[in-house]
Symmetry: C2
Amino acid sequence: MNQSSHQYTTTNTRILLAKRPTGWPDESCFQIEACAEPECGPQDVTVQAVWLSLDPYLRGRMDAGQSYAPGFALGKPMVSRVVGRVIESRNERFREGDFVWGFLDWALRTVVARGEGLHKIGPELGRPSLAISALGMPGLTAWVGAIELGKPSPGDTVYISSAAGTIGQLAGQFAKRAGARVVGSVGSDDKVDFVLKHCGYDAAFNYKTRDMDDALSELCPKGIDVYLDNVGGTTLEAALRHANVAARFPLCGMISRYNEVKDPGVRGMQLMVSKRIVMTGYIVYDHVHKLPAYQLRAAPWFNAGEMTFHEDIVHGIEQAPTALLGMLKGDALGKRLVQVCAV
Amino acid sequence: MNQSSHQYTTTNTRILLAKRPTGWPDESCFQIEACAEPECGPQDVTVQAVWLSLDPYLRGRMDAGQSYAPGFALGKPMVSRVVGRVIESRNERFREGDFVWGFLDWALRTVVARGEGLHKIGPELGRPSLAISALGMPGLTAWVGAIELGKPSPGDTVYISSAAGTIGQLAGQFAKRAGARVVGSVGSDDKVDFVLKHCGYDAAFNYKTRDMDDALSELCPKGIDVYLDNVGGTTLEAALRHANVAARFPLCGMISRYNEVKDPGVRGMQLMVSKRIVMTGYIVYDHVHKLPAYQLRAAPWFNAGEMTFHEDIVHGIEQAPTALLGMLKGDALGKRLVQVCAV
């Protein structure tokens, strides 16, 4: 490590997956470990983490291998998207001070062998943290779902679950730009206010306090043309009931299923036929080649203030497990990040 | 009526929907009625029914309005695709002796007001009965599902439920022509033999006597790339489990659901996301504009014997209710028709 970087501690800390959860995970699934500083070998790059991204898909990777990506190894660090700064580089592609992002261990400092999988964050993105949210893979997830698969026409009704989440807040604004009427479901009254005020939603409801069919009848009086599903379960069932003919249902995750041991099934699937619905499961990694074009297209919207992105920031790496658990239960307002150190 | 047509009786018979079924329908849902001969008014066309088509979707239309088409009226005749001959025409578009098809009452003879909805069957189709099966809407249903939505590549595995049914026997042959490996599930050992011998299937199994997961593991060792669903339910669930990444699931009907009062739901829908499956409900009426091109393309295949189509013919209009009930229970080998009179 570069000893001139006095702002960084000399003792590293990382967070391990200590136990696989059954159903909802809890604190006992994680272990905070003090560990040795990593050594930067030839061609390697040492990164000081600044922001860790907490996303629902991490729950799936805590299982042994049920999700689309291999499960995290037991006793090894949790991994997620991390924005950091290069504090030592023995690789000509990176310089000290560069902002970078990659899938990195949950650790204060990590050595990235040969810099592989590290991406430089250029100044054109504005806030560097957007590289792992609005202008990164989550943003592309929202774009592909709301626009490429949803294909909203002006006047269409686009319904989005988890509307206040990372994908939801962006998808709502994209659909609104496309001229759609945008309706969201969220899990608290605060989130209703948030998506109406900040994310371009025309209407939203708290699914914990309202009957879903009543709410959709009232807020989507012309039916649903696009449903961007983040949750599955009874929310997906209600969307099927209120869908219009030829509706598009991009599915980008089923958070309601991640923590259930027993699968109750999705009822009403025969409506897929009678309403000629197209349901498309997708994973953003299949679309990663579109990221540069997406960034060039969308960055000016954020830089000009035409779109906004709200981050829910928790401070301190040791808070990451609690912050993840809370996010899975729905306590984040906007995209949850753990800020590990000052920028 | 034209009194010179001595081969036809002068007393008409028709079959009415007497009662809406709850769950599985039975004979008491139908009423056979002797009725007056229809009168052919100006511009009208009188049709002698020759073949009535019996299809699974008819079950849905016996309900009040749950299906994609309005329910049949209580106390009114059942309606389905009928091939018949014109026995009287006061319309310049039709001549006595023409073979025609249309959605007609289940009756020996029907007057079609102004000939609307009647389609002439040209000699290029070969057997006139194919106009309501292999070269009609059912054939187009199979084509759209197996080819247009299924998009099989050579070497892909295409799995088809109800493989011996109208859609199944055609879809299997289309997928085979496209170079796919074709696997079917059917409800009897006779049907296994039938689809292997006559419909181009590479493999098939009787779902009533084999565990579906075992059968799919053995017969689809490389997984499923296209699943053409006719049944929904546990068959669809098994297909999700054995699907490959980027599989296509055209859904053209869910016969397993038509007679169930309680919907058990489709489990495993989260596999839609992890496997990036595209599920497309479709109804052939949306594709009716493609019928002429489909007929021109496919008719030579049947006329040259490159494709075959097996009809399961029951004789006598009074047999139609029993024949429909049996078909819904799976007793038809091939496409079930009721032959009402000699050609």
